[in-house]
Amino acid sequence: MADRLTDVSRGDRPGRSIRVGAIPPFASFLEEHRADVYRFLLAAVGPHDADDCFQETFLSALRAYDRLRDGRNLRGWVLTIATRKALDHWRARARRPLPVEDLPERPAPERAEADPELWRAVGTLPPMQRAAVIHRYVLDLPYADVAGALGCSEEAARASAAEGRKKLRAVVLAGEEER
């Protein structure tokens, strides 16, 4: 029922009279982008911390939401916030290193499934490359948006994504040889 309410309030369907750039109610914004943000964070910080970063991302978005003036590219906007949260998270982790292998096995029945090997591989990339690879190859963001989310130029975004992808390939191949 709630879905029905937020659904009809979306302005992104053909035939709607909502003007371009109108700000949707936060409920619709959350419903529309929650899966993308969660997917990004799951890939970026892993299943253990995705929830916390998700909360911080959308609370930041909510705090700023009544001052937003342009509703175009809200996806890019919220992924930019999520990227900052992920970078903060990585920096905090770097200050108090925690070997990935020692992460407690938390019972988390409802958590999204993701092979820990996968995000461990992604986790070996330097932060900017990691974020660029996920935005480009997991979320299919155009390079302009990858650049926006990372706060760099489009060329730099292309370079980070390409370099990251190359490194990821090397890491995964090395892992396969070990087995």
């Binding site: 937020t6 409920a27 419903e31 995705a50 609370l59 909510l62 999204a112 997991v138």
Partner: protein, 208 residues
């Protein structure tokens, strides 16, 4: 390597992100970041949407209303920080449930008048809110109590634009000449509410 990316792309995040979004609403509520909370009440008149601000009940919407327009107006007039917030709407939902079950004769939740222009329109609705359960008044009476005895028609317009039907009981205002009068194109609802309150007997059903 493309396997890594492919599995990250196809990871099932639906349930996890839905639950995380639910947690978010709760946190937002406790931090006072929800400007407009909404929820629904299942009633004999259909599924009714309620919108509540920190100031009180802002809007009650019947199922026929274009919900996209309702939300749009709320975003424009009040705030875009609109969330489905069970805690924020709890009191409104409870009072409406009790009313429909016949357990509540006077609503106690405060009204947020943001959608009602100050002046005559607002005075009409404030006076209407004073008509007791089970009683009816006429457009002329309400206009007079609002300070303009000859403005019965304008009072009708104010009541037609009532953003909080049921709670501000515009259904208790009827024409002086008989019948139950209009109710936003859904007169059967007005008759139903008046019958619930005992102001209209089943035998009066054809009075309009």
């Amino acid at each position: 390597m493309s396997d890594v990316l492919r599995s990250l792309r196809s990871a099932d995040v639906e349930a996890a992100s839905r639950r995380a979004a639910g947690d978010l609403v709760e946190r937002a509520h406790h931090r006072g970041l929800v400007d407009v909370a909404f929820g629904t009440v299942d009633s004999p008149l259909g599924s009714i949407a309620v919108f509540v601000t920190k100031g009180g009940l802002l809007r009650v919407a019947y199922p026929e209303e274009r919900m996209d327009r309702v939300f749009e107006e709320i975003v424009e007039v009040v705030s875009p920080r609109v969330l489905e917030d069970p805690k924020g709407t709890e009191r409104a939902r409870r009072e409406l449930d009790a009313y429909f079950e016949g357990r509540l004769r006077r609503f106690r939740l405060p009204i947020d008048w943001a959608f009602v222009p100050q002046g005559f329109f607002r005075r009409v609705l404030v006076e209407t809110a004073r008509i007791p359960f089970g009683a009816v008044s006429t457009y002329g009476d309400v206009a007079q109590r609002a300070g303009s005895p000859r403005a019965a028609r304008a009072a009708g317009n104010a009541l037609h634009d009532n953003p909080v039907p049921i709670v501000v009981p515009c259904h208790r205002v009827v024409p002086a000449g008989g019948g139950i009068g209009k109710y936003g194109g859904e007169e059967w609802r007005k008759a139903w509410l008046l019958r619930l309150e005992g102001a209209l007997q089943p035998a009066d059903e054809n009075m309009s």
